[in-house]
Amino acid sequence: MWTELKTLLWLQWKLTRAMFRSRRVSEKLRFLGLIFRAISLLFTFPMFIVMGIGVAVGLILLSSRAAYEAVMMANTFLFFAWLLMPASANSQMVERFEMSRLFPHPISFRSLVVGSTAVSMLTMTGFWTIPLLVGEVIGLTYHQPLAFPLIALGALPAFAVLVLTGRIMDDVFDLVAGDRRLRALALTLFTLPFMLCWLGQYIFQYADWEQNPFLQSLDTASGPSEALEMLNISSLLIWVPPAWPTAGMSLAVSGQWGLALLFLALSVVGIALLLRVHAGITRRLMQGAALSIGAERVRSRRWRVRLPGPPALWAVFRKDWLYLLRSPIPRRLIFSSIMMIAAMILPTMRGLGENDLPPAIQHLIPLFVGAFVLTMTDMAINMGLTANYFGSIDREGFVTLALSPLKRQYVLLSANLVALLYAGLQSIVISLAIAIITGLWVMLPLGTCLGVCLQIGSTPAYNLAAIIGPYRAQLKFSRGTRQRGNMWGMLAWVVSAPPVLALILLPYIFWKPGLVITIPAAIVYSVGLYALTLKPLSRLLQRREHAILEAVTAQE
């Protein structure tokens, strides 16, 4: 077993070291990349140590009871970080240690279970967990030096629980890795606790501190120690997996030796249970029990209505439309847009009416917020759909288009029409939401108009980005062309979008009747810009077809 373990650790070492390998062809760029990564690591590891020192100092400054509460919170945070293990930056920088790849080889079940757990420790998440735990041990020991053996002993099961949590998350990810939709769902579920915590902060922001006696008492706390003690969050966190070993290492500080020992004993039971779960999933994986929700059944209906214009355009449009409905990318975009809107609207709306600004300016805030939200969501849609058309929407399928005698402008027109429908709908929803929240009903037509004009006017910029920087959407690394495309896209957007914003926002602020002229002018500008650039962009697409094909069909 030891030889097998050594080989697994050797494999993890090789995978970690491969992080420094670059795909860049140029020696100079490769060397620069290596230097950059070396410098970032030089900063990263000392930063972990500084974090550990920070934790130690912070705990020393708190009361012993507050230190217990703080350690509970810190370890719960660590627990969430380990939950995100499969989706973490570490997983993207370092190739995943996918157990299933080892199954064809003669490696024992026990070695796999133990080895994969050991490998989880040797990850970036593991590297920054250790200094934090050491900081906790130092900080807690300061309050009760006699309890050092128990505190240090408690840190080991705490680390084990965290590592096993991460390992099990990786196992779950392995179970669903073969199914694209389940994988996407798992990633969403893994990140959900963080999202909920993030949205939860607004509950605190909106809570009426003056009416709630508990929150009022918190407001009167003399310092962080008293606030933490009053918050008593450990009574809730005790149900989170790392809480038992954390209680085991911290309760001795306040003299509760018996309880500390009891929690340590419970931690050992918890670790055994987690290990059993990991072993169970490993065994199931070894028996080929990868989860799958099976082939997705889709309804395919012919469009009975004959649309005006070239049939070839509508054929591509139908393909793009169906792809939009069936691809997980739009769903992710919708989700991220909603989160972005919530993040931007909620704090701003809270501030309305609570400042000393003149009423005329206060009246304009919803408009600015709306314009900002619409601009940002427009960017989010286009960065995902339009600028990413070749690669994420049209991947290997682009060969079909490239082989066809189709006019290239139809390819762009179709992709842009689909994005416009999506963006138009989203603009209506956002404008309606802002109108309902603020009571400023003019936002509905104005916001919708702004959203649609922004979409049409900025589309050429994103088309340019898509053609110059075709990119295969993936969870791994981006290519150089992607950055180049984004840069050109941003530059072109800076030129194309401000006139639309100016034509709609400025007249509303300074002379509302002017909107009768400027709104049609914004529409003419957007549509005109689009129409004028469509042909040159189509020619560019034709010229770069081989490069695009190479980029989006290359093996990853």
Partner: protein, 266 residues
């Protein structure tokens, strides 16, 4: 080691996925020291069979022994004696070919010096030496296949399971690999069990052939025996034997008349 003359033996081997029976009561015996071609249409159960025989997938019913070891009871012993190129190549993409081959060598218990000795000729055979230090991420499909093949060969296994081994590999490498495999079979008594769709390859390369259709074994034997059973002349190509055995002859070309030019115009 089991000295039995049968390399692979299955007895009513079955694998079901819900209502679908992918492999249905398969009884198969593959002698040692032969190249055995496992043929069948898409979805016939070839890969499922290979996955079960390599202990990657437990059978729903039935038993099988590989190199004398039960696939369910002693999967590790089976894996020690076999080399596999699975359908899904499952390679660590950020390792180089050399590193990957070394990994597999080490997992099979070869010491460092031995692995170092074996890798260069393998890379040379598979024409991977120029790319040996590139990440697998940058390899073409054919190069990935060659890497997987090198991994399957590094420990000189008793039995090789190759799922579509030559798909995407250039003719020069294919010829070189076939020669090595033939030498392994003739001189070391290795058994090669491989699935393919390419009938010409199976015809020229295999000593024995098994044909699977809809999960059931439709025929097994030498190509001459299969021809005889299919009631075809001695010079009939394997393609005809295959089509006759699986009963997949095209009966009505009339529906494609618009394409073939055989449209009946009344």
């Amino acid at each position: 080691m089991n000295e039995n003359s049968t390399a692979i033996q299955t007895h009513t081997l079955t694998r079901r996925y819900g209502d679908l029976t992918a492999v249905d009561r398969l009884d198969l015996a593959v002698p040692r020291g032969v190249i055995f071609g496992f043929l069948g249409p898409n979805g016939a159960g070839k890969s499922t069979t290979i996955n079960m025989l390599t202990s990657l997938l437990p059978p729903t019913a039935g038993t099988a022994t590989v190199a004398g070891f039960d696939i369910k009871e002693e999967p590790l012993e089976v894996k020690r004696r076999i080399g596999t190129v699975p359908e899904d190549l499952s390679l660590y993409e950020r390792l180089t070919a050399s590193e990957h081959i070394e990994l597999v060598g080490r997992l099979h218990g070869l010491d460092h010096a031995e692995v170092e000795r074996r890798i260069p000729p393998l890379l040379d055979l598979l024409e991977l030496e120029d790319s040996a230090d590139k990440m697998i991420l940058d390899y073409s499909h054919g190069m990935r296949k060659k890497t997987a093949l090198a991994c399957a060969l590094i420990h000189a296994p008793e039995i090789l399971f190759l799922d579509e081994p030559f798909e995407g590999i250039d003719p020069i490498s294919t010829k070189a690999i076939k020669e090595v495999l033939r030498d392994m079979v003739d001189q070391r008594g290795t058994t090669v069990f491989f699935s393919t769709h390419v009938m010409e390859l199976a015809e020229r390369f295999c000593d024995r052939v098994g044909i699977i259709n809809k999960g059931q074994l439709a025929g097994v034997g030498s190509i001459a025996e299969l021809r005889q059973r299919a009631d075809l002349p001695d010079n009939a190509p394997l393609e005809d034997v295959f089509i006759r055995t699986v009963g997949a002859e095209v009966e009505d070309e009339g529906l494609l008349g618009w394409l073939t030019g055989n449209e009946n115009v009344d």
